[in-house]
């Protein structure tokens, strides 16, 4: 059944239409054939009725000629007329032989038989008369001629009667034929109409099978045009032209849907990226804001600090003078380097200054050591990344510990990288805390008064943005109380990577 449907489905529209028309034409043709067959049959049957083997007119003519021949012969005894008589007699006998000679249930046939017999009797009398004439029996042939004449009249009357009967019968038959034809006209019209209706229905059904998918397709196309790709249109089994188009359409809609999905996905990704960029910008702005907050009228501050340093010098307070000078340097660096990049040397100096200031603040409690490989002072890196690390080591590492805290900073080249390591022996961190810090979830509290305001997450972000790589910052700690080590990997490049 499926196979059959498949076969049917493979028919092209042209073939379908052809088949449809052929089928309907065949139906009409068949009906016509039947009708005409019936008509022909009726005609043949009626023909059979009309058909008489012998033309009665011919018979009458022959009879008249024969009678004329006899009369002439008996009158003149001419051999020509005798010859004619015999010839006509033979003709007449031939014709008579074709007339009915049986006793059948039919008036006309019986009349034919009577004519045949009467004509034979007539011919016998005529023959006798001819013989009598030859024998010169005048009285006899006269009497025989009279008798023949009488039979002749009888035959003529019978033929006339038969003619009349046939005329009547033919009229009747004609009426029957006419009735049949009339009836046939009505019936055939009816049948034709019925056949036409059947044809129309068939056509409608077949055309619907062709146009219905088209209609569906058009509806679906409209829907698609309106932007609805969630179609209910099913792929069809039909493999005709419409089926092919429908199949292609369904495929196309599916492809469009997939394409739209993909586009949406990529747009979402792009969106995410933009969001990230925005976030980064926010980070930077945040950092810059913090700088700016710290730079409130920095020149006034620096000038004031310089004035303070000179004052201290004048008062011979050398230490104070140095302190103030270092502080001024530190903040100046902060302000100056806010545009983004710095050299390693500058960064290290800033760290030194910062540690000095802290040591003044905390009475030299912070032991800071650094170990810097030579010739690395000019390496470019984002500004203000080392100081926050040292600040963190102070703030979160050694500030609150009972033992003597120290911070160790080392810078060493490793391949095409620079490895910067800030290690302390302070409070240490748990693994969880490390993960949180690296993920940027542990924000520094603003209440932290000793902070320059630049957190580790800021440093990480800027590093990643500056170098375009991830995992440049690693935090190591053996646990609480075991100290912390922050490692930075600085890719060494001849040119700075951009402005942050």
């Amino acid at each position: 059944m499926e196979e059959k449907a498949g076969r049917k489905g493979r028919l092209s529209i042209r073939v379908k239409l052809l088949l449809t028309f052929a089928l309907t034409a065949a139906l009409m043709f068949g009906i016509n054939l039947l009708l005409y067959q019936e008509v022909n049959r009726s005609m043949r049957q009626l023909d059979a009725v009309y058909a008489t083997n012998v033309s009665l007119n011919e018979l009458t003519e022959c009879l008249e000629e024969t009678q004329g021949n006899i009369y002439t012969y008996l009158n003149t005894k001419s051999s020509d007329s005798l010859e004619d008589y015999y010839r006509n007699e033979q003709r007449l006998r031939d014709m008579l032989a074709q007339l009915n000679g049986e006793n059948v249930e039919n008036e006309r046939k019986m009349l034919e038989k009577n004519i045949r017999n009467m004509a034979e009797t007539y011919l016998a009398s005529a023959e006798e008369a001819v013989q009598a004439k030859r024998g010169r029996n005048v009285e006899r042939y006269g009497e025989l001629f009279d008798r023949a004449q009488q039979y002749y009249q009888y035959v003529q009357s019978a033929v006339y009667r038969l003619n009349g009967m046939q005329f009547r019968s033919n009229s009747d038959n004609y009426t029957i034929l006419l009735n049949s034809l009339n009836y046939m006209e009505i019936v055939s019209s009816g049948i034709m109409v019925a056949a036409a209706v059947v044809n129309l229905l068939l056509l409608m059904l077949l055309i619907r099978t062709i146009t219905e998918p088209l209609r569906q397709l058009a509806l679906s196309a409209n829907e698609v045009a309106a932007g609805n790709f969630d179609l209910t249109l099913q792929d069809t089994e039909s493999r005709d032209e419409v089926g092919v188009v429908q199949h292609a359409f369904v495929k196309m809609v599916q492809s469009i849907r997939e394409y739209i999905d993909r586009t949406r996905e990529s747009m979402e990704k792009e969106q995410k990226m933009m969001e990230r960029e925005l976030l980064m910008e926010t980070h930077l702005k945040d950092a810059q804001l913090k700088y700016l907050q710290a730079q409130i009228n920095p020149h006034f501050l620096f000038n004031s600090l310089n004035a303070g340093a000179q004052l201290a010098m004048m008062e011979d307070a050398e230490k104070t003078s140095i302190f103030i000078e270092k502080m001024a340097d530190f903040f100046r660096y902060n302000v100056r380097r806010s545009e983004g990049t710095a050299t390693l040397g500058e960064e290290l100096e800033a760290v030194d200054n910062y540690v000095y200031i802290l040591n003044v603040r905390f009475a030299g409690d912070i032991h800071f050591e650094k170990e810097v490989a030579p010739f690395l002072e000019d390496v470019q890196l984002p500004s203000m990344i080392l100081q926050p690390l040292v600040e963190n080591a102070v703030t979160h590492g050694i500030r609150d510990v009972d033992w003597e805290g120290w911070i160790f900073l080392s810078v060493e080249p490793a391949g095409d990288e620079l490895r910067i390591c800030v290690r302390d022996n302070g409070a240490g961190m748990t693994e969880e805390r490390i993960r949180e810090v690296l993920a940027g979830k542990a924000r520094q509290t603003e209440a932290d008064g000793g902070s320059t305001g630049i957190g580790l997450d800021n440093v990480i972000s800027r590093m990643e943005l500056f170098f375009g790589r991830k995992n440049l910052v690693t935090i190591l700690s053996d646990g609480p109380g075991k100290g912390t080590e922050v490692r930075l990997r600085i890719p060494v490049r001849s040119e700075p990577r951009g402005i942050i």
């Binding site: 009797t121 009357s157 009667r161």
Partner: protein, 350 residues
């Protein structure tokens, strides 16, 4: 899931529409076939009706002809129908050889035609002429048996006679006349027809019977009136004169011919003689039976046409099977009066 359900629904729908299409086609096909078949049947029927006679393949061994003086009369129609039925049963075709439109033939001409047509038997009512006798003799000479019916020509060579002989008929008529005679009866008139050749014998016997049966001292005039030869409608004229002329008007009017009886009946009614003239009619035509039923006509004498028809065919068949046949077959006479008319009416209706 929904797709599958849709598919199922679609398939179901398709199946349903396919089924309804098939059903529709089958119905239409059936209707068309029915019309076609009906049409064929109708055509064949009307054609068969039209050509039944011609197309019949019924054949017969023998061909008889019946020659009647008035084939259109009910009497002859009855006789012919009965004889025909009997003939068909015996395997013979019976032709009513009469009334050829072309020429005005006499009975003898029809006899000659029958002989010339070499038929196997002739049933004829002779008209009593010499020519008829010669024709009968000629037929017999040609080996064709001739059966005379209703009237006999005993002088001819006819093979057999089927009917009522004149003596018997005269006696029956006489007896019936006597039953109608009352004290006031003065005149009885018997209407004879020119073709009823043997009727003078009937008349003679009738008169003899009546005269014999009359009461002593009663004198009743019995005369006969013969229809003027050569006049087709003479009977009517004759009756008008008879009934309108008081001197001639009979008390009892006797008819021994079917046509005369009807004529007499009409004349009697037309000239207002119902009751004053008693009519003794002949043959059970519908009108005569009705008249008897109403009491207008007291007596109608009739013969058994079925018997007549059957016997004439039997006579021919017997002749053919045995080589000889009895020369006389008697046919029963029936007397219809108001008492038994119902019975005849019923037979007529059936």
């Amino acid at each position: 899931m929904r797709g599958q359900a849709d598919e199922r629904t679609r398939k179901k729908k398709r199946k349903q529409s396919g089924r309804s299409l098939v059903l529709l086609l089958v119905l239409l096909g059936a209707a068309m076939s029915a019309v076609l078949l009906g049409w064929r049947y109708y055509l064949r029927q009307i054609q068969q009706d039209g050509i039944a006679g011609y197309a019949s393949d019924q054949t017969y061994d023998r061909h008889y002809v019946m020659i009647a003086d008035d084939s259109s009369s009910l009497l002859w129609q009855d006789i012919y129908q009965n004889a025909k039925r009997a003939a068909v049963e015996c395997g013979a075709y019976l032709e009513l050889l009469n009334d050829w439109e072309s020429v005005e033939y006499e009975l003898t001409d029809y006899m000659n035609i029958a002989v010339a047509s070499k038929v196997d038997g002739i049933i004829v009512k002779p008209d009593g002429t010499v020519k008829m006798r010669q024709a009968i003799n000629a037929a017999e000479a040609a080996g064709i048996p001739v059966i005379t019916v209703l009237e006999d020509d005993s002088a001819s060579d006819r093979t057999s006679f089927v009917g009522v002989n004149s003596y018997q008929l005269g006696t029956v008529y006489g007896t019936q006349i006597l039953s109608c005679v009352d004290a006031d009866t003065r005149q009885i008139t018997v209407l004879l027809n020119r073709s009823d050749a043997g009727k003078d014998l009937v008349y003679k016997q009738l008169r003899a019977t009546v005269q014999e049966g009359l009461a002593r001292g009663q004198t009743i005039g019995i005369n006969s009136l013969t229809n003027t030869p050569g006049s087709f409608f003479g009977a009517e004229e004759l009756l008008r004169n008879l009934l309108q002329d008081e001197a001639q008007r009979p008390d009892i009017l006797v008819c021994i011919n079917e046509t005369d009886s009807e004529c007499a009946y009409y004349a009697m009614v037309d000239y207002n003689q119902v009751g004053s003239v008693k009519l003794i009619g002949y043959y059970q035509t519908e009108r005569m039976l009705a008249a008897v039923q109403k009491g207008i006509v007291p007596i109608v004498i009739t013969l058994d046409t079925a018997q007549l028809g059957t016997c004439s065919i039997e006579a021919l068949e017997e002749y053919y099977s045995m080589g000889y046949v009895s020369s006389y077959f008697s046919v029963d006479l029936d007397i219809i009066t108001q008492e038994n008319v119902q019975q005849f009416l019923e037979t007529e209706t059936s």
